[in-house]
């Protein structure tokens, strides 16, 4: 088993090195060039973005947060890109991470379509409106509001408790009508776990709000999906995390088209971010057993607070 993991790990490292080399290639080729006025060359920013996204992917997986929630505040705060392109790239980063993780989660019944589809339907409509509103507002206001939201997420992460397998819940009328329930094998408990949900109506309303925020700021919104599924609706934590990715992939797909059709998707920024994050996420999944998630979580919360304050200040023009 160990040698299989090591072999897989070496493959991942090799793939990452090749990706890095390929994405840094413009440095060595004719495509490189300086910006007018002797500023930093474009490929330097793009390369730094790729490397940054790669490390962010590792940290995000180990800390159990989505990539978008870290990507948007940090990149909009510390890189020279306008927040429009960063939000679009943030949605793509979150979306591609969810797509990448979706297959194994669906196959192991940790992502559930009966639970995810009704929430995604509501969330995707509101995420489109969130994107429209976000692009219509002045960028300084969006940057300031992003700071408030990010600091709010950090507080939520500090205060929220998680329930691996909630107490058995009595299904409500909506969940009975839609037959939302499931069964998965929990390897850590070594048994099948059957689950039901309750408070479906309140959960649905919250998913509308989460979709709007996700579309407006380009955040993945896994930070909010998981507690709503887990703590409010009584979904086991593993199924909540898996199904959150499913919801996120659909909501992100809807919102990102608003950005794309308004000229806010720049492939020059978006693709290195997506590839870096996906490569980093795979390394993160490989390293996960070796790290203590709690200590990484503290680091992530600290980074979120710093990025949130930076975003607030940038929004205020400081």
């Amino acid at each position: 088993m160990q040698h299989i993991i090591e072999k897989k790990g070496s493959k991942i490292v090799l793939m990452t090195v090749i990706s890095l080399a390929v994405l840094l290639m413009p440095d060595l080729s004719f495509a490189a060039g300086q910006l007018p006025g002797g500023e930093v060359a474009w490929w330097v920013w793009v390369s730094v973005l790729f490397v940054f996204s790669f490390f962010l992917g590792i940290i995000a997986v180990i800390a159990g947060v989505g990539g978008g929630v870290l990507f948007v505040p940090i990149v909009s705060g510390f890189f020279p890109f306008h927040i429009d392109y960063v939000r679009a790239a943030g949605l793509l980063v979150a979306l591609s991470g969810a797509l990448s993780a979706g297959t194994p989660l669906l196959r192991s019944s940790l992502a559930n379509l009966r639970l995810g589809l009704p929430m995604a339907l509501l969330g995707s409509v509101s995420s489109i409106f969130g994107a429209v509103v976000g692009l219509a507002l002045p960028s300084s206001l969006v940057q300031f509001a992003l700071g408030v939201v990010i600091i709010g997420i950090a507080v939520l992460m500090i205060m929220s408790k998680r329930s691996a397998v909630p107490e058995e819940t009595e299904p409500d009328c909506f969940s009975q009508m839609l037959q939302i329930s499931g069964l998965y094998y929990d390897a850590s408990l070594q048994k099948d776990v059957a689950w039901n949900i309750h408070r479906t109506a309140i959960g649905s309303i919250l998913f509308i709000f989460i979709g709007f925020i996700g579309g407006m700021f380009g955040l993945g919104a896994g930070f909010a999906n998981v507690p709503v599924f887990n703590l409010l609706m009584g979904v086991p934590l593993k199924v909540a995390v898996g199904t959150s990715g499913l919801v996120l992939s659909i909501n992100g797909s809807a919102a990102v088209w608003v950005y794309l059709l308004k000229g806010a998707v720049l492939p020059l920024i978006a693709i290195p971010a997506v590839v870096g994050m996906m490569a980093g996420s795979r390394i993160g999944a490989w390293l996960l057993p070796k790290f203590h998630p709690k200590s990484i979580r503290i680091v992530v919360i600290s980074i979120l607070v710093l990025a949130g304050v930076r975003s607030l200040l940038k929004g205020l023009g400081v």
């Binding site: 474009w42 379509l113 009966r114 693709i271």
Partner: protein, 139 residues
């Protein structure tokens, strides 16, 4: 175990997962290839990389006003320029859920699960409406 999972509809999840894997890998591979064609100038570009980099601090509206980004579906007219191919590849990646939902809706229909067939079709419609651009103002 498998029979119990079938009762909870895990077969639909497997169909969805099968399409998800193929389409998302295809979309990602297309994005990387198109990006390399773009940054290595292996194909003609609509807007040079340097022009984009010199203006990426401006809002998307400003970039459109300068003619450095396209509004609505105008970018499709510039295919197969490499920068627009990159955009098309990103678009392909984001359409992965549409393909997955199409398969899921058929699987639900086959099981005579009409409520979820309707939910899946409505979700496809929402995504296609977003793609159509009706939510963005006329430019």
């Amino acid at each position: 175990m498998e029979n119990r999972k079938e009762a909870f509809g895990a077969d639909v999840e497997r169909s969805y997962a099968g399409v998800l894997e193929k389409v998302s890998i295809g979309g990602l591979a297309a994005s990387i290839i198109a990006y390399l064609l773009y940054v290595l100038h292996l194909m003609p570009l609509s807007v040079s990389v340097h022009d984009i980099a010199a203006n990426w601090h401006l809002s998307s509206d400003a970039l459109v006003a300068k003619g450095l980004a396209s509004y609505g579906w105008a970018w499709a007219k510039h295919l197969p320029d490499a920068d627009m191919l990159s955009l098309a590849a990103i678009g392909l990646l984001t359409l992965t859920p549409v393909a997955c939902l199409a398969i899921a809706s058929l699987a639900f229909l086959k099981k005579r699960d009409y409520a979820y067939t309707v939910i899946s079709i409505l979700q496809i419609l929402v995504l296609l409406v977003a793609v159509s651009g009706v939510f963005i103002a006329q430019h």
